[in-house]
């Protein structure tokens, strides 16, 4: 039935909830107006009944526009699990989940792969303390490793997810990151040849999976192919990367990516709700160059830099929920401020953000996520060390363009002194011989030797004062 609705209907139905909430709030509740959307010192300052919801057209689920990404749970030593070595801080996870649910967050997105495989377990414990019908669980079939491709292994992974999450049904089930690696070939191996896609569709019919969809990275052919089979598979949702830089500049950030504008419009034209990942571009839209900070802050002094990216993602009416991996209570509080309720961006503000994206592209950071797949470099370089130092300097405004810049001397010192601090001399870019052995390992497809030579060249210009 839902396949009969046209695009406009779909957008209207999906957007209705959010628009209504925002309209109802505009002017009627002065207390809420004063606090909503502003930088919140703590989650306690945010009203608990103002969350913006979107309606899933196929199941009628009222999903909170802020979804909780469960891949960055905090550890007992205080860092995010992805960075640190220690175990998940379950107490903190419980507190985060409780606070989120208290403020109306009801979508929790995890995977058997997250947090070194412990995310589902920790999320399950935290959620089991709440009534099952008060939240939606999203998890994925993360059968990346070839040894998990056989049907029984993949089914075991799925069954284990149910067990870890302490539930007998999954609200949102995803084929995880289709388009990665070998593209179509890998997709076929993971979901088609082993019959897993059929299996999951059967589970959906049986009601143990309420919504079936996929998340997409990389090869656009797989995305297009899966959508072309929409009539057959009836995707209930699709998870895509969307943010104000990726909207038009995805190829510049990462040549393998596709502009979010295309992805989103493809989904919207078929009436498939979009779930948004990487609304912050892996944190790079919250940690931005100083001149971008002042630009954004000047316009909305009381909102955080990150809030622009969240509001941007939430403003698109075809978006069901925007995922954020919130490690700390401060992240959660700031995001709640953006979504309780969402104040959609005006056309003027959208234009302002696209201009901001154009500005950011003028001194772009290297899209290195410090995954260290390129390491060890056989010639001893610390590749992520060099790239991250460069990015840090871009963001802090310590990459002078000319020796005539007013802050040139200070910026030059910060760049060069910081360089020696971040990376030992013998591991710096000047030692890159350009053998190219690193490049094929980079999941972001960075041309590492070219970037290192560019940075080395820049360092030389700084040292010789010839910039």
């Amino acid at each position: 039935m839902h396949k009969d609705i046209n695009r406009r209907d779909f957008l209207r139905r999906l957007g209705l909830g959010g628009a209504a909430t925002a309209a109802a709030l505009a002017g009627c509740d002065n207390v809420a107006e004063k606090t909503a959307g502003k930088l919140a010192a703590s989650a306690d300052d945010i009203p608990t009944d103002r969350m913006t919801y979107r309606t899933n057209p196929s199941t009628g689920d009222k999903v909170s526009l802020l979804g909780y990404g469960c891949m960055r749970w905090p550890t007992v030593d205080g860092s995010s699990v992805r960075d640190g070595e220690s175990d998940i801080d379950q107490q903190m996870v419980n507190r985060l989940v409780d606070t989120a649910i208290a403020h109306g967050v009801n979508y929790f997105d995890t995977s058997p792969a997250y947090c070194k495989g412990h995310s589902e377990h920790a999320t399950g414990i935290a959620l089991a303390r709440h009534p099952r019908e008060s939240f939606f669980i999203a998890t994925k079939l993360s059968n990346f490793a070839p040894e998990t491709w056989p049907r029984e292994k993949s089914i075991a992974m799925y069954r284990n997810s149910l067990k870890e999450l302490q539930t007998d049904y999954i609200d949102y089930m995803l084929l995880h990151a289709i388009g990665m690696g070998e593209g179509m070939e890998e997709y076929e191996n993971r979901y088609v040849r082993n019959g897993m896609l059929d299996f999951l569709m059967k589970e959906r019919e049986a009601g143990r999976i309420r919504n079936l969809g996929f998340s997409y990275h990389g090869d656009i052919k797989v995305f297009d192919y899966l959508l072309s089979r929409h009539d057959e598979y009836k995707w209930d949702f699709v998870q895509i990367q969307l943010n104000y830089v990726d909207w038009k500049h995805a190829k510049e950030v990462n040549p393998r990516n596709t502009d979010a504008e295309y992805l989103y419009n493809e989904l919207a034209s078929r009436g498939i709700p979009a779930i948004i990942m990487e609304p912050l571009l892996g944190g790079r839209l919250s940690n931005v160059p100083d001149h971008i900070v002042s630009r954004l802050k000047q316009r909305e002094p009381e909102r955080s830099v990150a809030s622009w990216a969240f509001r941007y993602a939430g403003t698109h009416p075809g978006v069901l929920t925007v995922l954020s991996g919130m490690t700390y209570m401060e992240h959660l509080a700031d995001n709640l401020a953006s979504f309780c309720p969402l104040k959609p961006l005006t056309d003027d503000e959208l234009g302002f953000l696209y201009d901001t994206a154009d500005l950011m592209m003028q001194c772009p950071t290297v899209p290195c996520n410090d995954c260290k797949y390129c390491m060890p470099c056989p010639y001893g370089l610390d590749i992520p060390g060099v790239l991250l130092h460069y990015n840090k300097c871009v963001n802090e405004g310590n990459v002078p363009r000319s020796s005539q810049d007013p802050g040139y001397a200070r910026e030059r010192r910060a760049f060069l002194v910081g360089y020696d601090r971040s990376v030992p001399r013998l591991r710096q870019a000047s030692h890159c011989i350009g053998c190219g052995q690193c490049a094929p390992h980079c999941p972001q497809s960075i041309d590492i030797p070219a970037e290192l030579h560019r940075i080395d060249n820049f360092v030389e210009q700084l040292k010789q004062n010839t910039i």
Binding site: G418, D420, R421, S430, H431, I433, C435
Partner: protein, 494 residues
């Protein structure tokens, strides 16, 4: 009062010269670099007539104030002497001058300069002796303190301090400096300015002049009661209180005696008659002097600790530390003009070594150029924007050179070592030498002339090579680079 002025001035001068040897940032030299250039022996080597004339005039007017104020080695001895006097008051006594020794040392120095035997000049010169101590013994401490500050600055996200490498630049130089320090410390603790009045050639020259100085301390015989307190406090051992005579060739115009005299019998005043004073015959030399000569003659060598291969954690490949290749001709920095010019003029004060920010300069271990600077590129290379050594050299051994001139001065030439070259050994693209050559002297050509697709190897256009060592330093082959620099005996322009 005069004594206080002397102490204040000498403290300032001493701190300044010391700072020049400690400072690795080049900041101190911009303002205070002249302090090194007014040192007597370096000025003489640099044929800096103005400075020499000024110092001669200074001595002819005020006596040997140079030895009390400007000379860092003299002030250093006064510091040891101060503690010596604390341990035992009135410890000095008059002794006869050892003129034969003084003039012999001066003659040795003159002959050494004329004959170009630099080691003698560098061993005897007071300023260079002090420089060696400051550079080898004090600068590492200074740098470690700096590194501590840098670590703290890093924690508060400040860029005020940066970490520097502290490394053993020359074992022989360190040994010579240590021995000089110990011997001088003992001598000055016990006997004050023994070195200055027996061995130091600068002291001898200035002493010869100061006999005729306009101003001098004079004993008023009408007031003097012959108590001898002045003589027992004279670190130069030059006051013959019994005969009411002062040996002005040895007096360093420290003004200590003026204040010591209870009768105000000594005053610093204008001379009236030409003096005919100075000891005639040789006094028995004491053991300490002999030991000094013996010990300075012996130079103990300690092994240079080579940087061991760094142990690294999982994600980083181990890096083998570079070793210096055997160079047939040593490399000397731009501005040195030629190996001979540097060897002739250099007093081995280590000021350039202390100032080099790139870890290039280090004292030579070669006997003919002992402790004089030479370049090597394991730790860094002679960077195009740096002319630091040429700016600080007080002796004209490394003459001032502009960045532009430096970039076109051929101090050496690169030599390719086929056996080490990474494209041939590892089969990968490289060209790091060519990429970093500031003069474009390295070209990458196919290793197999018949096959243009074969891996590329570097060839050196010697005409354009300036010998800066970027190629050698950044070559991925280690411990021995696949391309290294041979020095040019005489520098030339491209």
């Amino acid at each position: 009062m005069l004594r206080k002025i002397r102490i204040a001035l000498s403290a300032a001068a001493f701190a300044t010269v010391t700072l020049l040897f400690l400072d690795f940032t080049g900041t101190a030299h911009r303002w205070l670099g002249w302090m090194a250039k007014i040192q007597f022996l370096p000025a003489l080597m640099a044929l800096n007539i103005g400075v020499i004339a000024g110092l001669v005039l200074l001595t002819l007017v005020f006596g040997r104030v140079y030895c009390s104020v400007i000379c860092p080695l003299g002030v250093m001895q006064d510091i040891f002497g101060y503690f010596g006097k604390k341990a035992k008051k009135n410890r000095y006594s008059y002794s006869r001058p050892l003129n034969w020794l003084r003039y012999a040392m001066l003659a040795v120095l003159a002959i050494a300069i004329a004959a170009g035997v630099g080691a003698v000049v560098s061993l005897l010169g007071p300023y260079s002796a002090y420089g060696r101590m400051a550079q080898t013994l004090l600068q590492p401490v200074w740098m470690w303190c700096n590194n501590l500050m840098a670590a703290m600055a890093e924690r508060v996200d400040s860029y005020a301090f940066y970490t520097v490498d502290v490394w053993m630049k020359g074992g022989i130089t360190l040994a010579v400096a240590s021995v000089t320090l110990i011997v001088l410390a003992i001598l000055s603790w016990r006997n004050g300015r023994t070195y200055c009045n027996t061995i130091c050639p600068v002291g001898t020259v200035l002493g010869f002049l100061s006999r005729f100085s306009l101003l001098r301390p004079v004993i008023d015989t009408s007031k003097c009661n012959g108590c001898g307190l002045c003589a027992r406090n004279c670190k130069a051992a030059c006051i013959n209180s019994r005969e009411h005579r002062i040996d002005y060739s040895r007096c360093v115009a420290c003004m200590d005696c003026i204040g010591k005299c209870h009768k105000n019998a000594i005053s610093y005043t204008v001379r009236r008659r030409p003096a005919t004073d100075s000891g005639e015959t040789a006094a028995p030399s004491d053991g300490a002097r002999r030991s000094f000569l013996a010990v300075t003659a012996v130079t103990a060598a300690t092994a240079v600790a080579s940087a061991a291969g760094k142990t690294v954690d999982g994600g980083l490949a181990a890096i083998t530390a570079k070793q210096a290749p055997r160079r047939r001709t040593p490399i000397v920095p731009p501005g040195a003009v030629s190996l001979d010019n540097l060897t002739e003029r250099c007093t081995a004060c280590q000021l350039c070594v202390a100032a080099c920010p790139n870890g290039v300069l280090r004292p030579s271990t070669d006997l003919a150029r002992l402790m004089k600077p030479e370049s090597s590129y394991e730790r860094g290379y002679c960077r195009p924007e740096c002319t630091r050594c040429s700016e600080v050299c007080p002796a004209g051994a490394i003459r001032p050179i502009s960045r532009a001139d430096k970039s076109s001065t051929r101090i050496g030439h690169a030599v390719w070592v086929k056996a080490n070259c990474v494209p041939l050994t590892d089969g990968v693209e490289c060209g790091n030498c060519a990429r970093h050559c500031p003069s474009g002297a390295i070209l990458m050509v196919a290793s197999d002339a018949a096959n243009p697709e074969s891996v590329k190897i570097p060839v050196v256009n010697t005409e354009r090579c300036i010998g800066c060592g970027a190629c050698e330093n950044l070559c991925p082959a280690s411990p021995f680079s696949a391309i290294y620099v041979e020095g040019n005996e005489r520098h030339s322009l491209i």
